[in-house]
Symmetry: C2
Subunit: 307 residues, 2 copies
DNA sequence: TACAGATCGTTGACTGAATCAACAAGATAT
DNA sequence: ATATCTTGTTGATTCAGTCAACGATCTGTA
């Protein structure tokens, strides 16, 4: 997997190159603007903060105190900013825009927005939409200061389709399963919908950091008192952080609460990671049979847990 | 929708700020490195091109000839690069790395990769994966020099699930429809799977720029000789570029080829954009009836086209 | 063939960016 | 009370970025 890491590093570097090269528009100082990029950033920070000090701005932008000092000096000479004493700390100076400064900043903002708008207009709508979505994703991730939170919740409209999509695509990609598996899951979902009994059945969607990364279903079995666990899956990127165990746990708990005496599940031997999770949860292998499905020769396994 | 444009511009600017602020690691010259960011970029270009000239590198990086000249002069003084005459154009000098230069570049590359790797390690796996996917998306879009291509193709494993997901989520978002709609679509898909007749039925997925943006289904109707058009949808971001018309066209054509004499479809009056597409394709409204479904009071419409 | 116009690399000149070091004034901890 | 930080300023230096000018060379066209 070192190969993979190299690929990831290369991808981020390629992104960095592509971004700095092609969107120099965003980073270079606007041609007709009286402000350099660095000056524009300082101005932006002054305008968007309440009673900022030079040190504060320097920290926000990662700039040296010396540079801030000189930049502010130039701004003051041009009549754009003024300073007043800090009420409680005489080392600080509070910076504010003069009316000329506000005017200059407003003009700069207008030009910048126009330039960014023109940049966006250069992309076809479908790419613009994807570009913005990706940009929002990166912003969020880069700015996040919390840990990704895992939550289990009821499915919302669209979620079952998403699960069908991910499971089918994933098993096609990882194990080469063909469309038959999608057929099977579609049937299961249709039946789940049609005969849904909220007191005895349930479905969970696992969200990690706001994104669906797994699911599990609890449905009535063929025999009274016996429930089935179905359609457990976890996204590759989210594996190894206990998502599957939490899903299985929730399912078992609900099965107990609903009064079932046994929980069965059917899986395939190639899904080795899943097997470990089932066994850790107390499931025992009770039956094993080869079958040809999904375009492959497989060994089906039935696991069972007495509740 | 000017509001929306402002949001888009703000989003891209926020992204730019976040990216330049937090990943200064990527943009700032590495602390222990003997090369500035600008020097590193020039070195990178020299190493990755065959027989580059100064002007070529300047164009690639958007740098001034004067700056390239001085940078190369410093490199030459440090014994990192050497120049030889261009065989056919005496104005050019061909630049190459000396063995010392290659060594220095290799060291720089190693350090850069390590720094980027460390940056990536700072993100939880799920975010790292999403960050990289977003970065790849942006790279591709920014570097693309072709127009987005629209293709219609057969569904692959996972695609029907994706369609279920998008339709359910979309109509929930746009019209407030509840889970009932998802149930309906799931049933349709399950039945499509179960009774699929490849000579008389078909499904298409529309891909724009490599992404699924719509679908349409042709299925047998209740009466012999009558086909049904079902589950037409197009992503909001892809609307207005003829995707829906192309899907409907493909569906009608196949219905004709399969020997059907009539093509019916059922839709709802709130889907006004769809109605225009159907009418433009020659469909006539033959029936209209109010119904309460998907959590809303709706007016169902049956359209029909004689083939 | 001759020549205008463009390209290439170099140099000078200048402003600003970035960084390091030193300093005085003021705040803070113990 | 004193050592230790923090804030803002200034000096010094190197490099980035930009404009202008220059000589050498190439290219297209009259």
């Amino acid at each position: 997997m070192d190969q993979n890491r190299d690929n990831e590093i290369a991808a981020l570097r390629a992104f960095n190159r592509a971004y700095t090269a092609r969107t120099g528009l965003l980073n270079t100082h606007l041609d007709q603007s009286p402000f350099s990029l660095s000056e524009a950033r300082v101005l932006y920070e002054i305008a968007h903060r309440t009673d900022p000090t030079a040190a504060e701005i320097g920290r926000a932008l990662g700039l040296d105190r010396a540079q801030i000092s000189r930049t502010l000096k130039r701004f003051a000479e041009r009549g754009l900013v003024e300073t007043r004493d800090h009420p409680s700390d005489a080392r600080n100076l509070i910076i504010s825009l003069t009316s000329d400064g506000q005017e200059a900043f407003a003009a700069l903002e207008g030009n910048t927005r126009a330039a960014v708008g023109a940049l966006l207009d250069g992309f076809p709508p479908i790419r613009r939409a994807r570009l913005l979505e990706a940009a929002r994703t990166i912003s969020k991730i880069v700015e996040a200061d919390d840990e990704p939170a895992l939550i289990l919740r009821d499915p919302e409209p669209g979620d079952l389709g998403y699960i069908l999509y991910r499971q089918s695509a994933l098993y096609a990609q990882e194990y080469g399963w063909n469309g038959e598996y999608e057929v099977l899951v579609t049937k299961i979902l249709a039946q789940f919908h049609q005969t849904f009994d909220p007191t005895m059945e349930a479905a969970w969607v696992a969200e990690l950091d706001g994104q669906i990364v797994g699911s599990i279903f609890l449905v009535k079995g063929d025999t009274t008192g016996v429930a089935k666990l179905r359609l457990l899956y976890v996204e590759p990127d989210a594996r190894g952080s206990g998502v599957a165990s939490k899903l299985v746990e929730a399912c078992i708990q609900r099965a107990r609460d609903a009064g079932y005496t046994r929980l069965d599940l059917w899986t395939n031997s190639v899904l080795t990671a899943a097997r470990r999770i089932y066994e850790r949860a107390g499931f025992k292998l009770v039956d094993e049979a080869p079958h040809h499905s999904f375009g492959k020769d497989l060994v089906g396994q039935t696991f069972s847990l007495n509740l």
